[in-house]
Every structure is written in structure tokens, then in C-alpha cells.
Amino acid sequence: MQYYDTGFLQVLFVLLLMAFILFNIQRARGGKQLFIRRIPGLSAIDEAIGRSTEMGRPVLMVPGLSGLDPVGIQAVKIFGYITRTAARFATPIRLLLANAPLYSVATEMIRDVYQTEGVPERFDPQSVRFVTDRQFAFAAGVAGLIYRERVAAAFLMGDWYAESLIVAESANAVGAIQVAASTITTQTPFLIAACDYVMIGDEFYAASAYLSREPVLVGSLVGQDWAKLAIASVIVLFSLFGSVEKRFVQQTAEWVQEPGKAGEYRPIPARMKNNDELTPLRFFFPRKPGPIDPPRQKRETAPTGGDS
């Protein structure tokens, strides 16, 4: 992160968002009771598993193309809660993945769920499967499994791209209840059209807090709310400030920075400010400082061999 001009404010802003989250986690750990609104789609989990149990058909869980990142791990965490219920009723599960490192983490986490529930013998290592890391081959493989095993419930959560419709429609074709949540915003409309229940946006991240009521997760969710309010405040305040500035303050100097030199304001005849000259925008686009003073010395020999 660059510290020149107003650049350090950006670091402070991200730190502030992180502080909101950590502060509220601490607050929740201290026993503070926090409220979470109902999240449509999550109430369907028990219904979907119940149906699978009655029909003796598997529950399918797919995190799309998610990798070993916050999205992928969040998806597997939600699948862990679903598996917990499935494990109690001995309902078979299928967790299909497109990323080998996430597959490793998922295998461990799902195995843990069966152990915690006291039924380790019910864990079938082949119920968690790596399919392929190629997008459409993955879609073909998941669709094939849906048809062959006639899954009764399909949970599609994580980074879903164009393949989402292939999987969601295949699940619909075999009469499965589909609960979906895509972090890829351009795919959410297709999931809304194709699935029975869809969690929108960061309802995906709120799901684990809602399901588990773990203080860490609930506190984090409150912190996330604060962070969203901070973003909203920045946009509203900056919009108001910028609007007033544009309406009432004129530009009387122009910022000029020639390559390799320090920038400076040069006086100009008063005129209306352009949008990129408004003060709030400096927060987002800090100015580059002038050349390094005093300049650095050169090394004696030029390095080769890259960065190793």
C-alpha cells in the first residue's frame, strides 16, 4: 500500500473495517446477545434433508468452482452444518469439488463433522469427491451424477459461474429441492430463475452465523454490518460534500505534475470544478509525490536472475 499523499487513509479505512469486525467478535464472546434477521433459504435446509431421508436419496452439495479461499471455505462450512443434520439421519451426502486443495480441506472438515456427531463409521470417503478443475467438464460431471443418483436436494453455494444453470436445471429435472447462493453477482439472476431458494449476496456469509449462532460468527456479522454502514456513510457524506463543493467552490488552480518532478498547483482563471477535482475524490486517488530526495545509490553490479 502506498503512503504518499492521502494513501495512508485507505490503509486506515480497511483497518477500521477490520477493527469493527474484531471488536464485535470480542463483544459477542463476552456474552452479549445479538440479533440476526431471518434468512430466506436457510429454513429450507431441514425440509430438503428430511425429504432426502424419506426418499433415501443423497443430498448434493457443490461449491461451484470455489478455490481454497474465504468463499470456498465458507461454502464448505455451510455444507458442514448440512452434513451434521444428514449424519444424524444417516442420509447419504455427495460433496463435489472443482479444486484439489479445497477438496483436501473439505474432506477433513466433513470427516470432523461425522466424528463430532459420534458416527465416524457413517463417513464415506467417496462421498467427498474431486471432479475436475475444468469448468464445463465439471458441469458435465456434476449433471451426470445428479441424473444417475437422482439427488433429492441440491445445495449450490460459492463461486458459481456460467455452469450454474447446467447444474441447477439438472437438479430441477430430477425433482430435487435446490438451495443456492452465488458470490458471482452476474450468476445470481439465473439461480433465482432456476432454484427454489436463493441466498443473495452476503446472505451467503451470514448463513453460518445464522445456523450455528456461534458468538465469533454472530459478532463478526455485526461487525460486517458496521463496515457496510461505514461504506454507506462514506458514499453519502462524500456525495454531499462533493455536490456542495461543485456548486459553490470554484477551481482557481490546476495541479500539474511533469514526469520525474514534484507536482504543484498553478493558478488559472476561476472556473467550475471538474468531477475529478473534487476534494473527496483525493481519498480514492492519492497524488504521487515528486522524485526521491535524496536519490538512492546504484548497486555496484546489475542484478540478473530475477527475484529469487
Partner: protein, 246 residues
């Protein structure tokens, strides 16, 4: 004979057509034909991943750094060998212990390291990714002139810095929409006032408008892909290659 030879091109196209028919058969139902091509597709994908992982990633990113490079003409060293890259092997081996009943916990070490690195990158990149989006959401919502409702055509090609009434209204709608949708994603407060409840409900409805717009603009590109495929099967293969019609 090279890869452009008409006989070979025809064989290759026929293979593509068979694959098209085989995979499209799932639209009717999951048949043995689909299952055959699905498994072939998965096998080819796994094989290709195992090939590309070496040729595209490990060969240069890992092996090339570990053993260095020699100029083949002169035999002189181009890049020195950095032997500590060899530590990646036992590190990766730890992940493979996931299949051990007794020592599977060890796999969490390399995976934890990857998770940590990924998490760190999230903090580092956060503002670079979302800062520009926040900047673009800061709008001027007070008109600077009431001389015209809409933006007049540019004079001498010069951009007009004024904010006209229609622009200010649009900007206000933009900011209001953003706030309504953000309020829908507030999870830990029960909205008691009718205003806030209304904002949240409006947020969900306006999200549907946004989703509809994405849906509408994507449909055409998806149909273009389908038309492209049909062109391949009917025109390029059947019409030109099989029936030899122009």
C-alpha cells in the same frame, strides 16, 4: 501431411460433432451415450490438467527456479539454481497425508499456509478492488444549473462540467438505490421504523431489477454460443464437409 490436411480436419470435426450429439443428448435424458461422452470429457480434463500443471506452472515456477538455467549455446549460467525450492516437495507431501488415518492432521499445515497467504492477500487487495467502485459511487446530487432539464449537446466538442437537473436526479436515484440495497444486507438490526423497513424492501425489489437487467443482457450472448455450435454442426460439418455444398 500436416494438421491442416482436409482428411484429418474432417476426422477432427466429426469427433467434435459426435461429442456435440453425445453431450446434447442429456437434454432428452441421461442416456448411456451421454454417460460415455461425460466420462471421456472428465478423463480428458483430468489428463489435460495433469499435463498443463507441469508445462504451464511447475516447469517454470518451481523446477526452473530450483535447477536454474544454462545458456545452451555457450554453456554459461543464465540463472543460478535456487536449491531451497526443493522444500516445496516435503511441504506438498504433508498435504498428501490426508489419506492417512493416523496422521491426517499434518495435511492442515500446508493447507493452513495456503489459507493464510490467501487471507493476507485479501487484506492487501481489498481497497484496490473496491476503492474504485466506492469512488464511482460518489455522485454530485445538487444541480449546478437549471438552464436545461437535460444535458444539451456539447459545444465545440468541449465537455460541459455542469450538473443538469436530470443528471442530479439520476445521481440521486443511483445513491438511493445503493443505500436501499445496502440496507437489505443489514442482518443484525430489526428495522422497526416504517421508513427503514420500506428501504430494505425497496432494496430487494430494485435488486431484482438489477438481476433482470443482467439476465436480459446475457441471454443474447448465450444464444450466440448456441448458434455458433449449430453453425459448426450443420454448415461447417454437414453442409460443407459431408455434402460438399458451398
Amino acid at each position: 501431411m500436416n494438421l491442416e490436411h482436409p482428411t484429418y480436419v474432417f476426422i477432427k470435426m466429426t469427433a467434435g460433432v459426435l461429442a456435440t450429439v453425445g453431450l446434447y443428448s442429456v437434454l432428452y435424458r441421461e442416456t448411456k451415450l451421454y454417460r460415455f461422452f461425460e466420462h471421456m470429457f472428465l478423463g480428458l480434463a483430468a489428463g489435460w490438467s495433469l499435463t498443463a500443471i507441469w508445462t504451464d506452472t511447475l516447469k517454470d515456477q518451481w523446477w526452473g527456479q530450483m535447477v536454474g538455467k544454462i545458456d545452451e549455446q555457450t554453456g554459461a549460467m543464465k540463472e543460478p539454481a535456487v536449491w531451497p525450492w526443493a522444500f516445496v516437495v516435503p511441504m506438498a507431501f504433508m498435504a498428501y497425508l490426508i489419506f492417512s488415518r493416523k496422521h491426517n492432521w499434518i495435511s492442515r499445515i500446508p493447507l493452513g499456509l495456503l489459507i493464510g497467504l490467501g487471507a493476507g492477500q485479501t487484506f492487501l487487495n481489498w481497497f484496490n478492488l473496491y476503492g474504485p467502485q466506492m469512488a464511482d459511487s460518489v455522485k454530485t446530487i445538487i444541480p449546478t444549473t437549471f438552464s436545461s432539464l437535460t444535458v444539451p449537446p456539447p459545444v465545440n466538442g468541449q465537455p460541459d462540467p455542469n450538473v443538469y437537473l436530470s443528471q442530479a436526479i439520476n445521481n440521486l436515484i443511483f445513491v438511493a438505490t445503493l443505500l436501499c440495497v445496502l440496507s437489505y444486507f443489514i442482518f443484525c438490526t430489526e428495522f422497526k421504523s416504517r421508513f427503514l423497513k420500506g428501504m430494505s424492501t425497496a432494496g430487494r425489489l430494485v435488486l431484482m431489477v438489477g438481476f433482470g437487467a443482467i439476465f436480459g443482457s446475457t441471454v443474447m450472448t448465450r444464444f450466440a454460443l448456441f448458434i455458433d455450435r449449430m453453425y459448426f454442426v450443420w454448415i461447417e460439418w454437414l453442409w460443407r464437409s459431408v455434402l460438399h455444398l458451398s
